[in-house]
Symmetry: C2
Subunit: 425 residues, 2 copies
């Protein structure tokens, strides 16, 4: 075995020690650190952009896909957005040591349930360098230490951003090791990180479905399950078809590469004949390919030639496309739609469009997903939209956190009991 470039174990020990001090720090110090990072970013724009140019040049020369490169590119505005994000997070109420329950037991014991940091988070992410700052800021605010492992394509940018954050937090008297960045692109270090359950309390994978799956299967510590959204929108018999059209277009076209975009459209047979041709026309304008089951194909027969409409294969249902593609299926009842969702959905975001309030309420109650929507777009499933301030991930797990994960969701609680000599008989 050859020696690794970085001693991950040592990083773990340092993270635990720093996190313990961070957890005990006061609100003003942690908010001061966030402000210091914001200023550090503003002062360091030239250095950041120069490191970023180096990464972009490297990515281009290695023949990387232009849309991946696009996600990596920073400019003055994007750096300013990172600084602004730090200030936004600083302005949120302090969640550390928030008292969630407080009561005096009959024997006089004072019982409290208090929100506390998890300890140390590990984050394995790809391409987008703003993750370095966004997650660092959320961890600082919530009192968690963090070990960051960014993608190799943005290594120089991430290293500069992490160094700016470390310098900033040290300037307010907190240990720099509250934030650590793995200073190597050696892939073996990811494997090491997944074994560090002694030091890392929660692992967050941010990137492709493949990365999320790999982390989930190999991490020895709890890991966030998420990112994969096979999202359905069901157009009920009682739908307002104008609203339906607007919502489906929003859920599919506005940002097709995100996890909350619509993948499969389910349409009640009584409205399919009217709705699907209208939708096909709009989808045609936006360049969306429809993969239609046989009944949807029949409804689209007249116009199928002009638009991108192809027969669905069975594996199109249950696929997260992350592209301008939608699977389309005609159903005869809402139950059939809900059964389809139960079988093919990933528990992320599911929507119904209907003016029948009873049907909407039944769908919202019975469909089992992180977020369920009536008469609106699955694209709203987002920490910012839900008012959580920011998000580290969207969880499709049912344990701990479900849906957008903000500050509270990277924290835990403990029971604090104050007595005066009480014993239990």
């Amino acid at each position: 075995m050859t020696a690794l470039a970085v001693d991950m174990n040592q990083m773990g020990v340092a993270a635990k020690a720093a996190a313990r001090r961070l957890a005990g720090s006061d609100t003003a110090t942690r908010n001061g650190a966030l402000e210091a990072i914001a200023r550090g970013l503003e002062a360091g724009v030239a250095e950041i952009l120069s490191a970023n140019e180096q990464d972009i040049a490297g990515a281009r020369s290695s023949g990387m896909d232009e849309h991946v490169i696009d996600r990596m590119i920073l400019n003055k505005d994007r750096v300013q957005s990172m600084a602004d994000a730090c200030r936004t997070i600083a302005a949120l109420p302090d969640p550390v040591r928030e008292v969630l329950e407080d009561r005096t037991l009959p024997n006089g014991l004072e019982l409290q349930r208090v929100r506390v940091p998890l300890g140390v988070l590990g984050v394995i992410y790809e391409s987008r360098p703003n993750v370095t700052i966004d997650i660092s800021a959320l961890c600082l605010k919530s009192g968690n230490g963090v070990i960051l492992r960014g993608g190799k394509e943005a290594f120089n940018t991430n290293a500069v951003l992490a160094q700016i954050a470390r310098t900033a937090i040290e300037s307010v008297g907190l240990p720099a090791n509250c934030i650590q960045f793995v200073e190597s692109t050696d892939r073996a270090l990811v494997g090491e990180m997944l074994k560090m359950d002694r030091y890392i309390d929660l692992l967050i994978p941010r990137g492709s479905a493949e990365l999320v799956r790999f982390v989930g299967e190999n991490a020895t510590m709890p890991a966030v399950t998420g990112g994969v959204g096979v999202c359905h929108t069901y157009i009920d018999a009682a739908a307002d078809l104008d609203k339906a059209l607007r919502i489906v277009l929003n859920a599919k076209v506005e940002r097709p590469t995100v996890c909350n975009a619509m993948d499969t459209l389910l349409v009640h047979s009584s409205v399919a004949g009217k709705f699907l041709p209208e939708l096909a026309k709009e989808f045609g304008v936006s360049g969306v390919e429809m993969r239609a089951d046989s009944r949807a194909m029949a409804a689209l027969k007249g116009i199928a030639q002009g638009q991108r409409v192809v027969p669905a294969r069975s594996d199109d249902f249950g696929t997260e496309f992350l592209a301008l593609i939608a699977a389309v299926k005609v159903v005869d009842t809402m139950d059939e739609a809900m059964d389809h969702i139960a079988e093919y959905g990933s528990g992320h975001s599911e929507a119904i469009i209907t003016e029948d309030e009873a049907a909407a309420e039944q769908f919202l109650a019975e469909v089992d997903a992180a977020a369920v929507f009536a008469n609106t777009s699955t694209y709203f499933n987002d920490g910012g939209q839900f008012g959580l301030g920011a998000e580290v991930a969207i969880s499709t797990s049912k344990l701990h956190a479900r849906g957008p994960m903000g500050l509270r969701e990277i924290m835990t609680y403990k029971w604090v009991v104050r007595g005066d000599g009480q014993v239990r008989e």
Copy 2:
């Protein structure tokens, strides 16, 4: 491969279907089911006790330890306690569909966070047959289906209890398969159960540390980590030694076989010379063996011959004794005590005894455990004591639930969004 006696997959499918109906049922129906179980137990006492006698006879003839047999024994009073527990749980507020957050977003969307059942729980337990009823009752109340796998030593008793529960819930119109009992003692079925992540949302092991570890390492679905409590009590320099004596005795002697019993006593050097000899006398009366480090041995020198005091081996620290044994160590500072707890504790229950309020607050803030105590006994870490109504387990995980797990802790939430055609730009 030989065929297994029970088709676990079929049980999983049935559990999911039943749980979906249970989740949609109303408060009165679920509480009615609990009352029906209570009546079924009262009416079935003779049948229950006869099955129990069969189990006890089998256990005795197989040479089982008498204290394990003791845990299995039922009598009229113990059956009545199970019926009472059902009625107590029925009287608790309904947690299903409880609205945890409710707000209208600036765009008019109505956003709610709603408490919902996890789905299906799997429970693998040993010896105590009351678990069959207690967990079934908590699952019913919380809208979760459950698959029960009890120990082979109490198989007949558990089978009768589960049948009574199934008949009862069917009598109020709920599917009997909300509660299923694995009707075989084949150990291979436990392995099957651990692979059923498609059907079981959370696995709860109730029994030995070995069982908990085995489940944690082999389950494909989330499993409760808990049960193992290496609990410390630290006697500070500023402790009231009378209180300290009373609390330490309670934490060690009252019920030494439970996870919240004290394992290691840490004593500040300035009070060790006075406190330890007094404690040794009391421990002598109660039959507690002290395993003392060299400084504690020195403090106990004069009386060491008369009492059960032996030198500690290094592995006594970090051991959960579950017996009348305590490791004892002298420390020079509270920091040294907290470092010892950080290294050897299992994150379960940790206590400080001191009249110095600042010291107490620092200990409560910095020690990382499910429950931390000042001037009282770790034996209080219990769902009933904390007012949760009942508990399925005590979790030492930091994710999802920490400490006693009651109804809320076997549930999740979902985001419900009601709109009127809103789309996201």
